[in-house]
């Protein structure tokens, strides 16, 4: 997304101001307000149901960040991101259940946090493996190779082999108390919420900073014009693979975070539809924008919840009952409709509207 105009009568006088994170005092105030809302207002006033909705949003944000990086910033269209989330979730689960952690790690509750890091790295490497074809193929052909990631990883390897480890059958359940961060046992939505918000903030901060650096510029250069990028001395293959690694890394964090909410995982949690869903999230939010990832996630989750509430109203009637049974299909239909409507009326996504609104107020009395 483009740069935002400064408000009237605000001018930058040096580079430090020009490159600052929070360029005006208004933005600083806004961010502090957001911080207070996220850490104090929401957990204090929201009930369990709303917290679970927020957790869903956070999970979607974490999952969609990687997709946003690949599609929106590096131009590598991917339709298999759920695979890397699944790799993260399964690595983390297996580490917690099977790995002989030293006693002090268990006592201090370090097993789960360190499993998140390991899961992220494993998912990143797995993602690089399926990013390798991007050295040779572009566009539609790359979509197919990333879809292969989904089918090979989830449908073949995880369902067929990984789920059988330990002879538990299909689903792995995590006994209460195993998911523990330091002294806190993550066992209700409020704790999951705090973990989610911290992970989301860390991931977004790191990714945005990466995008401002030479790595980020190289990614956008590859997206905008890969031939020019190559002439500038950018090693295209290396940077594409690095983008896949970072995307997989964040996907792995998303996966291993989500097991704290699920407490039991099975391959059905990571269907191919979830990969498609994440692409839909960034299309609706705005491709090439971190704001867009967040707006898209909020929009999609809230729309689905509202849809569910509406359907619940009619459960008593006979046709409503059928509607309820068919909710899964209703959800998919709503997803399709939302994408169609957005592509026609708002092809730049919600982030574009946000950008326009911000500029309108920044330039307000003299908008020319």
């Amino acid at each position: 997304m483009s740069t935002t105009w400064l408000p009237c009568s605000v001018y930058h006088q040096n580079y430090a101001q020009d490159h600052g994170w929070w360029q005006t005092r208004f933005i600083k105030g806004k961010m502090i307000a957001l911080f207070i809302i996220l850490f104090f207002v929401i957990p204090h006033f929201a009930d369990e149901y709303w917290l679970s909705v927020f957790n869903q949003v956070g999970y979607t944000v974490l999952g969609a960040l990687g997709v946003q990086l690949l599609i929106g910033y590096c131009g590598q269209i991917t339709l298999g991101h759920a695979a890397f989330i699944a790799v993260g979730a399964y690595t983390s689960t297996l580490l917690i259940l099977e790995f002989p952690w030293p006693k002090f790690m268990m006592d201090w509750g370090l097993a789960y946090p360190s499993s998140i890091i390991i899961a992220a790295i494993v998912a990143g490497i797995w993602s690089v493996l399926f990013g390798l074809p991007s050295a040779r193929v572009k566009g539609f052909y790359l979509i197919l190779t990333t879809m292969a990631a989904q089918f090979i990883t989830v449908d073949f390897l995880i369902t067929g082999y990984v789920s059988q480890i330990g002879g538990r059958g299909q689903a792995f359940s995590l006994p209460p108390g195993t998911i523990r961060v330091g002294p806190w046992v993550i066992d209700d939505d409020r704790k999951v919420y705090f973990m989610m918000i911290i992970l989301v903030i860390i991931c977004i901060t790191c990714l945005v900073n990466l995008l401002r650096s030479r790595v980020g510029r190289a990614w956008v250069a590859i997206r905008d014009n890969d031939i020019s990028a190559e002439v500038m001395g950018i090693n295209i293959v290396k940077y594409k693979l690095f983008a896949f690694f970072v995307a997989g890394f964040i996907g792995g964090i998303a996966g291993s975070f989500w097991i704290s909410n699920l407490a039991a995982i099975s391959p059905e949690h990571f269907p191919w539809f979830w990969s498609l869903w994440l692409v839909g999230v960034i299309l609706i939010g705005g491709v090439g924008s971190i704001h867009g990832t967040i707006f898209g996630s909020i929009f999609m989750v809230v729309v689905m919840e509202v849809l569910q509430l509406i359907v619940m109203q009619f459960v008593d009637t006979s046709w409503g009952e059928r509607l309820f049974m068919d909710f899964l299909f209703l959800k998919e239909a709503a997803f399709g409709l939302a994408i169609c409507v957005f592509m026609i009326f708002e092809p730049n996504g919600l982030a574009y509207r946000w950008w326009q609104t911000k500029n309108y107020f920044n330039l307000w009395p003299f908008s020319y």
Partner: protein, 270 residues
């Protein structure tokens, strides 16, 4: 050897596309260190292909240098990857103003400095580019896709400068620009050449302008070099006058007999 080694030596190369289409048939070009050399020719003569052969971009179009060699500072580069060649200091300004249109002008320039790791030369480089193109300094926070064509061309040349090049391959810097702007850009190019001692291989349709900038020029037709001489001599050459500069010998009307005559000679030349 008393003669100074040329910085770029294209030695009798042959380029094929898709392994069947022979486009360049034995082209040899030498660019002296710190010199400007112009490459003239009609559309489809193979000028851009020659540049792509040097910068290593041929493989994107399924092309390959099948014969001959390209030497840059005494090292063979015709089998190298484009980004390796760029790292050695050869940078091509691709025709058609390929800015990264979603980045700001300054970010575009910073992408040019991708190969420089530390911050100090980056700042000096930005300072230098803004010095040559003051217009870019005004526009530095604008999105490159939204600035005018001339400014985009300046951005692209500036981006090439940021790589700290030894040799710039300029592919039609005047394409689609207003005559005044073309003059501005060419003035900057000559200034660059004089002050920064960068060698330039220039491909240009505007022969008069190119010959006024470059002391030496090659003329290509149908994938071959048909003439190569100093600019003064080329400017005097009746064929060049007739076909590239649009002047007739005596200022009289052109007759078809002369055209036929040239065609025959051209066939002999090629």
């Amino acid at each position: 050897m008393s003669k100074k080694e040329p910085i770029l030596k294209i030695n009798n190369i042959e380029v094929k596309y898709h392994e069947v289409i022979l486009v360049i048939k034995g082209v040899s070009i030498e660019v002296p260190e710190g010199g400007i050399v112009a490459l003239l020719g009609a559309n489809g003569a193979g000028k851009s292909t020659t540049l792509k052969a040097v910068s290593g971009l041929l493989k994107h179009e399924d092309g390959e240098v099948t014969d001959g060699s390209i030497e840059f500072m005494g090292q063979r580069i015709d089998k190298m990857k484009a980004e390796r060649i760029a790292k050695m200091g050869v940078v091509q300004v691709i025709e058609g103003r390929r800015v990264f249109e979603h980045l700001t002008v300054e970010q575009n320039l910073k992408v040019g400095a991708h190969m420089r790791k530390d911050a100090r030369p980056l700042k000096d480089g930005l300072e230098m580019v803004y010095n040559y193109f003051p217009r870019l300094k005004e526009k530095r926070n604008e999105i490159a896709g939204f600035i005018s064509g001339g400014e985009q061309q300046m951005t692209v040349v500036g981006r090439a400068l940021m790589t700290n090049p030894k040799l710039i391959l300029l592919d039609e810097p005047s394409m689609g620009l207003a005559p005044l702007l073309i003059h501005e850009i060419f003035n900057i190019i000559t200034k660059l050449h004089q002050e920064e001692k960068i060698s330039i291989l220039l491909v240009e349709q505007n022969a008069k302008l190119a010959l006024s900038v470059a002391p030496h020029a090659y003329v290509m037709e149908n994938g071959r070099i048909v003439m190569d001489d100093s600019s003064e001599k080329l400017l005097e050459n009746p064929d060049i006058k007739d076909f590239y500069l649009g002047l007739t010998d005596v200022g009289g009307r052109k007759s078809f007999r002369d055209v036929k005559h040239y065609k025959r000679r051209k066939r002999w030349l090629t």
